[in-house]
């Protein structure tokens, strides 16, 4: 048999359990290829977490090594919960993630619908549209901050001042997105970069629609809007859920944009940046570790639900 034979295996592996008849040796052979990856992942991702728990329970201050490491119990955890700044960082994280994901999905959906038609140069338009996603996040953040936002030589204020000039007002505007809307300033490059991602997933969803169903609906006299509402949108639901979920996983971790654009000032500190700051600036390793442990536990709780959703998505989504 050659590789060209088109005979697709089922998409989801059958839950083939090792039958009782399987020998120990057979089971071990089956497991063997998995072990290197599993061991590596456990060592690199789980051991550091145990170390974090240990540090969180001993007081460890980088700048006061003379204090040494001694068991302090839950003192660091109490300090984290007593601190308002971490609560506000959680809020900023949720706000930023929700804002970026919602806007990116909406624009992404619009772009996917636009690209799901045949028109002149569609391949090139798609190529241009995915480019922002391929830009290094650090480069994107620097580009937006200095080439677009800067009050003196940035393009945004340049355009505003140019328009004011036409109306005879030659004093440069005092408005700057960095001081007036810092969280939006952080969000814009993220939206710019993640909209293509949403667009790609939703476009794949649109193109997996059955052409016959759409044709039949059209023959029956359904309007474009009716077709979108009753056929396309229900079909897209799982793709929208998937894009929201994956987008959230990545944007919850946003760091580069905040580090570069605002450095966390004027209430733009999200969780990753807050933990980074405690660690690098204050040097209170015990406190940072307690923050890390709390965030990981919080993530486990959220992720348990997310994974349940994801596993149902993957069951339906693999097609």
């Amino acid at each position: 048999m050659t590789a060209t034979t088109v005979e697709y295996a089922p998409d989801v592996a059958p839950p083939r359990r090792a039958s009782p008849g399987d020998s120990f040796r057979a089971r071990m052979t089956r497991r063997l290829p998995l072990l290197p990856a599993l061991t590596f992942t456990v060592v690199v991702t789980q051991l550091p977490f145990l170390y974090t728990i240990y540090i969180s329970l001993v007081g460890w201050d980088r700048d006061h090594p003379e204090l040494g490491k001694k068991f302090v119990g839950l003192k660091n955890f109490r300090a984290v919960f007593a601190d308002d700044s971490l609560r506000s960082a959680v809020l900023v994280t949720v706000e930023l993630t929700a804002f970026v994901v919602v806007v990116a999905v909406l624009i992404g959906l619009g772009l996917a619908l636009l690209l799901d038609r045949r028109f002149f140069g569609r391949g090139l338009a798609r190529t241009l549209l995915i480019a922002p996603f391929l830009i290094m996040p650090m480069a994107a953040a620097l580009l937006w901050k200095h080439a677009f936002y800067n009050a003196q030589f940035g393009l945004i204020n340049g355009i505003i001042n140019g328009v004011r000039g036409w109306f005879g007002n030659h004093t440069p505007t005092a408005w700057s997105i960095l001081t007036d809307h810092p969280l939006i300033a952080v969000a814009l490059p993220l939206i710019w970069q993640w909209t293509p991602f949403m667009m790609l997933i939703l476009l794949a969803g649109l193109q997996s629609q059955s052409g016959e169903v759409l044709e039949a609906a059209r023959v029956d006299g359904a309007s474009n809007w009716q077709i979108f509402r009753s056929i396309t949108l229900p079909h897209l639901r799982q793709y929208i859920e998937l894009s929201v979920l994956l987008g959230s996983i990545y944007i919850l971790q946003a760091f580069d944009a905040i580090y570069t654009i605002t450095r966390g000032i004027s209430n733009t500190t999200n969780l990753p940046f807050a933990i980074f700051e405690t660690q690098v600036d204050s040097g209170d390793y015990g406190l940072t570790s307690a923050e890390g442990v709390i965030v990981v536990i919080g993530t486990i709780i959220v992720a348990t639900f997310a994974l349940r959703l994801l596993s149902s998505l993957f069951k339906e989504g693999t097609r």
Binding site: M1, A3, A9, A13, R30, R31, P33, L34, A37, L38, F40, T41, V44, T45, P48, T52, I55, G110, L115, F119, R122, G123, L124, L128, I130, A131, P132, L134, I135, M136, M138, A139, L142, L143, H146, A147, F153, G158, F197, L200, L203, G205, E215, L242, L246, I249, Q253, F255, D256, Y259, L271, F276, Q279, G292, V293, T299, A303, A306, L307, T318
Partner: protein, 285 residues
């Protein structure tokens, strides 16, 4: 590459409606949006070919100069790019070496509780990376691996392994089982099956997985910032450090940014029809 994408996209679509104003409007809108999204990149490239004083006053046209690209392929930039290449390529190779057998054990010959294992890998991806920053920083210090590119390589390998396993698994599920069974009947062992039978079939998927891992490693900033110093500094860290505290720097910054973005732009465009599958961890094809 673009042609292939067009052909694929244009394959099984509905009939084109007769010419009408609405359709032209939509085409126009699509093009306006495409140009709007691409504009910041055009702006970056335009600024990179201007003198610093021209770049400091925003306007569409200005005198062309290549001065910002002088010396960009030597010295510190070169070191940073070589470090980035080293970290990205080495970690990608390690990821594939670990992920191919693991994906095999999770798809073709699934071990017991394979879904649990699969979701364990994925859950490590959901954990906030910043929580691992301190312990990994301290451990690398203890091991004397501060400012050593290998610390980054290991971190990137662990970070990309879940993505690669999920992605490769979706490609492996498409390998016809009869081929593998035939090879087994012929007495081939696991290594032979992986190397001689499976790898050639999933080569396109393997390439796509490698590209995704490469892109993520190339762009990573947080760990690179914390774990590297002068020697092992990677491109994003160099870029972040290339803004001058005073004076004009925008044109130079845009030139550096463009140069360090170029490898991923090219790689991503080349793989664009596989990008969706990789980014959705194989859930969407």
């Amino acid at each position: 590459m673009t042609n292939a994408a067009v052909v694929r996209l244009g394959g099984v679509r509905r009939r084109r409606p007769r010419f009408n104003a609405g359709s032209t409007g939509l085409t126009l809108l699509a093009w306006v949006m495409a140009l709007l999204f691409f504009f910041p990149i055009v702006w970056m490239i335009l600024l990179s070919f201007r003198s610093e004083s021209d770049a400091a006053t925003p306007r569409l046209f200005a005198a062309f100069t290549g001065v910002n690209y002088d010396g960009l392929f030597s010295g510190d930039v070169k070191i940073a790019i070589l470090n980035s290449l080293n970290a990205s390529i080495t970690s990608t190779v390690l990821v594939l070496l670990l992920a191919v057998p693991a994906a095999y054990a999770l798809s073709i010959k699934p071990v017991k509780k394979w879904t649990d294992v699969l979701f364990f890998f994925l859950s490590t991806k959901m954990m906030p990376a910043v929580a691992a920053l301190l312990p990994i920083y301290l451990i690398t210090n203890d091991l004397g691996m501060n400012d050593n590119i290998w610390a980054l390589i290991l971190v990137y390998t662990a970070a990309n392994l879940p993505i690669a396993i999920w992605m490769l698994r979706s490609f492996l599920l498409e390998v016809p089982r009869e081929i593998i069974e035939a090879a087994q009947v012929d007495g081939a062992n696991l290594v032979t099956i992986l190397r001689r039978v499976i790898t050639p079939i999933i080569a396109p998927g393997l390439a796509a997985t490698a590209l995704i891992c490469f892109i993520f490693s190339w762009n990573e900033f947080l760990f690179a910032l914390r774990l590297t110093g002068q020697n092992a500094k990677t491109a994003p860290v160099f870029l972040a450090g290339s803004i001058a505290p005073e004076g004009l720097f925008l044109a130079h910054l845009c030139a550096v940014a463009f140069v360090v973005c170029l490898p991923v732009l090219i790689a991503g465009w080349a793989a664009q029809d596989k990008l969706v599958r990789g980014l959705s961890l194989g859930a969407v094809k």
